[in-house]
Amino acid sequence: MRERIRIASAPFDPEEEMVRFRAQLADAGAVVSFLGLVRARNAAGAVTALSLQHYPGMTERDIGDALNEAASRWALEAALVIHRIGDLAPAEPIVLVATASKHRRAAFEAADFLMDHLKCRALFWKCETGEGGRSWIEPRTDDYADAARWDG
């Protein structure tokens, strides 16, 4: 499986990244992408800024481990993870996951698995600023339940 991990400290262009991701494919029949965007509202009201922190080195290794697990579970031709760090504004892309496989189920499930990992297991810390003040975000109960679906 061809894989690429990128921790981006500046905005990235999702469609440009997808053109690049697709250019390397030889005989994929299915390409799934997930794009996460900063939402302009949370439960407490308007969100004006989001700040993302990571642990350089350890975060990348952990995502590499998740990609290895995906490769062992599904027949993937390629997988991509791009994750922003730093300060983000509403509507900006935070995360892009792409997977490619012969048949669609592998690509869907692997993208779903990788997103569950990024959402509540990968080493990122997310701080929201807005009407509700400034607060460090924790995954929702749903997010933990989603991630647990893949546990052995």
């Binding site: 996460g36 922190q53 994750h83 990122f124 460090w136 924790e138």
Partner: protein, 82 residues
């Protein structure tokens, strides 16, 4: 010097992500938290919470693991990405 790293809300409490700590001998993570408690009980109490994980030089460890000079000890509160 050893390096202490405080991520997420722990960085707010510590007044910064990174802090240097001089070590004359190897100390356990629990010992380090004990040292911090002498000057900052709020931070030490946050570091000792069950949901905070520890990593030495990028590997997850428990509270009894030892850090030596030049090591990096990171305190990892609950993560959230994506």
């Amino acid at each position: 010097m050893a390096t202490l790293l405080f991520f997420g809300r722990l960085g707010d409490l510590a007044g910064g992500v990174e802090r240097a700590l001089g070590l004359s001998t190897a100390l356990s993570v629990a010992d380090v938290i004990g040292i911090i408690e002498q000057s900052d009980r709020l931070l030490a109490s946050a570091l000792a919470e069950e949901r905070v994980r520890y990593a030495i030089n990028g590997t997850i460890v428990d509270g009894e693991a030892l850090i030596e000079d030049e090591d990096e000890l990171a305190f990892l509160p609950p993560v959230s990405g994506g």
